[in-house]
């Protein structure tokens, strides 16, 4: 009876190790704090109506950023924990805690942490930011009011949140996470070798968020292909939109593959089938193939929008059109189509014949051609420009150096005989961190610095931003150059301890210190955002939405844009559409009736049920799974019968809204003469915060709340 009711759940599942208890307490305390603040401020209705149930891609984009930001901190803490263990992990150093023979973590615990680190960084940080950016920027760039299917968008977002919750469940509830590496390679992830619930959590967090990704990708493709402003042909689209299109086309191609693979693994674990087991005719090599057929293109899904961002930033900050637009587009298409046929380079060492290995090596090398073309294109764009070095441009310049490191090591790894030596070594780890941090993460930072004024109406604090940038660069070099070296010394990845006679410890310690430098950079970025909001008045973007002298349509709107994006849909005649409009002289907007989608909570409900299905299968509670499936079907049907999913704002109302907006913005636009002080530095911010908090304590301000 008990088994039917609660499956495998037992007291043992509750948090009982120091890290899970710590995690749960921290999580719950944070949640409690947020709940208290919201209740005290009476903001629940606002939160539900204005944000959670919103179908506005701009709001969904910002929610992606918030979740992604939290997960970046979470994944970053994992990274620091990994580095600390390795810094302490020499065999002559005795274990520091009871559970650990070396360092301060047991091997199993250490493996869980790096698995979680990989999953979180790829799925819930990089993907979150990429999807957030596409949500916010692409409709604005192509002159659309919304996405093709607003409901699918909110559903995709909430499924993603379901995945985030699932990956953190072992904190909240306990149990364990997968200790298998981020792709849970079979047969290690099979029941025989990983009997715990860790791999199940892994399967379902990826499954739920992966389905959300597929939905999102379909939606973005429909939007880009069908909802562009009149006159914007494919070859007049901004390059970020191009990057997003290529990336989403790939995502649609590969994510169903992930879903299928995860189902097969789930069948193996739950129903006892033999797809990837070592017994009963299972084929472990098949799993490796399938997961990398998805896994390799996945990193290009992340990098292509970043390429798009850099293309735009270079062009805007050099005050020149991109040197060869068609080459850039062709380069992105080239990268995305080649990326689908290179997956085998992740396992040259499995023993395939020379012809197979050489073919996939060749395909991998070919990707370097369009990538180099993109870099040359950026150089040519800067040539004879007038280059401003604001933080977005700094991130670009940092990206090139770090990404070049990753590119060179990448081509080396593409040569099978060299890969036999470097595969699974720390050299490989350093390689993909160079590309993912240098390319994707710096691309995201660049994009956030570039579009932050659009998101908020406030420019980011440059002084602290520059410091943050340098901390990132120095920290990156300190932690990843030693990693390349360690790889050459024969250090494999994922080691929780190593022989002290190898002499690797100083390098690992240096890596750990580098990690702390990077963490300082991340803290400075938070400080940067905080300082920008504190000096809101000074940093307010007084150009009315176009602080960088932008070239594409998103800069033609107010900052932040109205929920309907454009009062009248722009007509596009050339590339760099907004620049052309500015040259011709801006015309007064005409007001027209606007159809806007209504908010819906259906996405949240479906996602809750989706999460429950995953939870039910992790703990083998069959009734809950069945009930949740029925729940999803019911929500879909109810939503399907809802014929009033849109409403119309008349042209008159739009006019009123615009006037109100202008009235609200006017005082902000006029320069406040009293506010002549400089941008805050780190020290100023510290002083400010110290005064702020001491004020609260002295005046007992909390009584007011």
């Amino acid at each position: 009876m008990k088994e039917i009711l609660i499956g495998k759940l037992s007291k043992q599942a509750l948090p009982h190790e120091w890290f899970t208890i710590g995690g749960s307490v921290a999580f719950l305390a944070l949640a409690l704090l947020i709940i208290i603040v919201i209740t005290r401020k009476k903001r629940w209705k606002w939160l539900w109506n204005d944000w959670l149930t919103s179908v506005d891609p701009k709001k969904i984009g910002i929610m992606y950023f918030i979740v992604g930001g939290f997960m970046l901190i979470r994944g970053g803490l994992d990274a620091i924990m990994i580095w600390l263990q390795q810094a302490l992990g020499a065999s002559n150093v005795p274990g520091l805690t009871g559970e650990a023979a070396h360092g301060y973590l047991s091997a199993d615990h250490f493996q869980q942490i790096f698995t979680a680190h990989g999953n979180i960084m790829v799925f819930f940080v990089a993907m979150a930011f990429v999807f957030g950016l596409i949500n916010y920027i692409v409709p604005l760039q192509i002159g659309a009011r919304d996405l093709a299917s607003p409901f699918m968008n909110t559903l995709g977002f909430w499924l993603f949140v379901g995945g985030v919750l699932m990956v953190n469940m072992f904190f909240l509830l306990g149990g364990e996470y997968a200790a298998t590496g981020w792709l849970a390679v079979a047969p290690l992830s099979e029941k025989a070798f990983s009997p715990g619930v860790g791999v199940d959590y892994w399967i379902w967090s990826l499954q739920i968020s992966g389905i959300g990704t597929t939905l999102g990708a379909i939606n973005f493709i429909m939007t880009i292909l069908k909802m562009r402003a009149p006159g914007m042909t494919l070859l007049k689209m901004p390059l970020f939109t191009w990057g997003s299109l290529c990336s989403m086309l790939m995502a649609v191609t590969i994510f169903p593959l992930l879903t299928a693979t995860l189902f097969l693994l789930f069948f193996d674990r739950y129903l006892g089938t033999h797809f990837f087991t070592i017994m009963g005719g299972g084929n472990q090599m098949m799993y490796t193939n399938l997961i990398w057929m998805w896994g390799h293109p996945e990193v290009y899904v992340l990098i292509l929008p970043a390429f798009g961002v850099f293309s735009e930033v270079v062009s805007v900050f050099s005050r020149k059109a991109i040197a060869s637009y068609k080459s850039a587009v062709l380069g992105m298409i080239g990268v995305s189509s080649l990326a689908l046929s290179v997956w085998l380079h992740h396992f040259f060492t499995m023993g395939a014949s020379a012809n197979v290995n050489a073919f996939f090596g060749l395909m991998t090398m070919l990707i370097a051609i369009p990538t180099s073309v993109l870099v040359f294109n950026w150089i040519a764009t800067m040539y004879k420009g007038r280059i401003r070095f604001d933080t977005p441009m700094l991130w670009f310049l940092g990206f090139v150096a770090v990404f070049a490191m990753g590119g060179i090591s990448g081509v080396m790894l593409a040569v099978p005989p060299i890969d036999f030596q470097l595969h699974n070594s720390l050299f490989l780890v350093a390689h993909f961190h160079s590309t993912v941090i240098g390319g994707v993460l710096f691309g995201i930072f660049c994009a956030l610095a570039y579009w932050f004024p659009k998101l908020t109406g406030i420019k980011l604090n440059e002084r602290i931003g520059r410091k943050a940038f340098w901390f990132w660069i120095v920290g990156f070099c300190m932690s990843f150059i030693p990693m390349y070296l360690l790889g050459l010394m024969g250090a494999t990845r994922r080691l929780d301890h190593y022989d002290s006679s190898t002499g690797w410890q100083p390098l690992f310690i240096l890596m750990f210190i580098g990690g702390l430098v990077i963490a300082t950079g991340a803290v400075l970025q938070l400080a940067q955002i905080l300082a920008s909001f504190i000096q809101k008045k000074k940093l307010y973007d007084r150009t009315g939405g176009d602080p960088w002298d932008g070239r594409s349509l998103e800069w033609s709107t107010a900052s932040p844009p109205q929920f309907y994006n454009f009062t009248s849909i722009p007509i596009v005649t050339s590339r760099d559409a907004y620049l052309q409009m500015k040259l011709k002289g801006l015309t007064k907007p005409k007001f027209e009736d606007i159809h806007v989608p209504k908010n819906t909570a259906a996405g949240i409900y479906i996602s809750i049920f989706g999460f429950l299905i995953g939870f039910a299968f992790v703990w083998e509670i069959v009734w809950l799974a069945v009930a949740s499936v029925i729940g999803i079907i019911v929500v879909f049907i109810v939503r399907g019968f809802d014929e009033h999913s849109e409403y119309t704002i008349s042209s008159h109302e739009v006019q009123n809204l615009e006037q109100e907006r202008t009235k609200k913005d006017m005082p902000l636009f006029s320069k406040n003469n009293n506010d002549t002080d400089e941008e805050m530095g780190v020290w100023d911010l510290t002083k400010y915060l110290a005064f702020f908090f001491s004020d609260i304590i002295r005046k007992k301000l909390w009584h007011k709340w």
């Binding site: 047991s106 091997a107 493996q111 200790a179 390679v185 047969p187 290690l188 025989a192 006892g272 033999h274 070592i278 017994m279 009963g280 472990q284 005050r319 040197a323 396992f347 060492t349 499995m350 020379a354 290995n357 050489a358 090596g361 060749l362 090398m365 180099s372 073309v373 870099v375 040359f376 150089i379 040519a380 040539y383 004879k384 007038r386 280059i387 070095f389 310049l397 090139v400 150096a401 081509v411 080396m412 593409a414 040569v415 099978p416 005989p417 890969d419 030596q421 699974n424 030693p482 070296l485 790889g487 010394m489 024969g490 494999t492 990845r493 080691l495 002499g503 100083p506 390098l507 240096l510």
Partner: protein
């Protein structure tokens, strides 16, 4: 006048200070780098085997070719960014770029040429250094059968009739064929960095890795692929010795009291971490073949706990 002089002197002092800081930083980095790598086995840059040496030279060629394109490109990029900075008002500022067909052509041509060169080298290198290929030599090749287990390596010498755990001895300048498989273990990877690249070990598969050492010494070996909790401790030593020393070692091992019979094998198969080195004077007949076929038999023949 005095003011300007003072400010220029200040500037000069500042400049000297900057130069000093840069020089000190570089010296520090160099010294730190020396300390970090001094006296350590940078295995991939110190190849001790026939295969590792070829892989090393291929790696060096690839790096050199890539640097040929990367260094000038990076230099051009940063130089262009610096030269066309907004504050540099001296140079001609064009706001519109002229579309040049030659430029686009060059942009595509340069990386294509470099990649063609690399691809040709890669293709022939891949065929030449295919791990399954027997190394030709006038000496009789040695076969070592390797079984990866949780979490240790078992080496069987079928011609010498001995077996070892976490230790393998090889005669110098003799081609060795490692026949790699696994028993009741997830995918692992057999790697001796000083001697050459790795191959995966999988149940029911035999992967053949051919290596040949050309220097005597002890070289570390490990599993490069994660395979469970004891993964980091799954290490072994590959000792390369002269042919005479090798024969003597084989003779000595044959005297070992330990015998790897079926029962001893069963207990060895149980997961263990940081397994000590063991030498067996004999092993159960057809042990290796039985391990390989074990997973090809119908389900439940051996009652694996699933």
């Amino acid at each position: 006048m005095g003011l300007i002089e003072a400010s220029s002197r200040k500037k000069r002092v500042k400049f000297v200070l900057y130069v000093l800081i840069v020089i000190m930083t570089i010296t520090d980095i160099v010294l730190l780098g020396r300390y970090l790598i001094n006296g350590k086995n940078i295995a991939l840059l110190n190849p001790k085997g026939f295969i590792a040496e070829q892989q090393y030279s291929l790696m060096m060629f690839t790096i050199a070719t890539l640097m040929l394109i990367a260094i000038p490109s990076l230099f051009t990029l940063y130089f262009t960014a610096w030269k066309y900075r907004e504050s540099n008002t001296k140079i001609h500022q064009a706001t519109k770029s002229k579309h040049s067909k030659y430029l686009v052509f060059t942009m595509w041509l340069v990386p294509t040429v470099i990649m063609i060169v690399l691809a040709v080298v890669m293709w022939s290198g891949t065929h030449k250094l295919v791990p399954q290929k027997q190394i030709s030599s006038d000496k009789k090749p040695l076969t070592v059968q390797v079984i990866s287990m949780r979490w240790k390596w078992l080496f069987i010498y079928p011609e010498q009739d001995i077996a070892t755990v976490n230790f393998v001895q090889l005669p110098v300048d003799t081609p060795v064929t490692f026949e790699i498989t696994a028993d009741d273990a997830p995918m692992s990877s057999f790697w001796i960095p000083n001697l050459g690249g790795q191959l995966y070990s999988m149940t029911s598969h035999v992967n053949r890795l051919n290596l040949m050492a050309d220097t005597t010494g002890d070289f570390p070996g490990s599993s490069a692929e994660i395979n469970g909790a004891g993964f980091a401790g799954m290490k072994f030593t590959a000792r390369v010795s002269s042919q005479d020393d090798f024969s003597r070692w084989v003779q000595a091992t044959r005297q070992s009291p330990e015998v790897l019979d079926t029962k001893a094998y069963e207990s060895l198969l149980r997961p263990s971490e940081d397994n000590p080195v063991v030498a067996y004077s004999d092993y159960a007949s057809n042990l290796y073949d039985r391990v390989v076929i074990k997973y090809l038999e119908p389900n439940d023949a051996h009652g694996h706990a699933e």
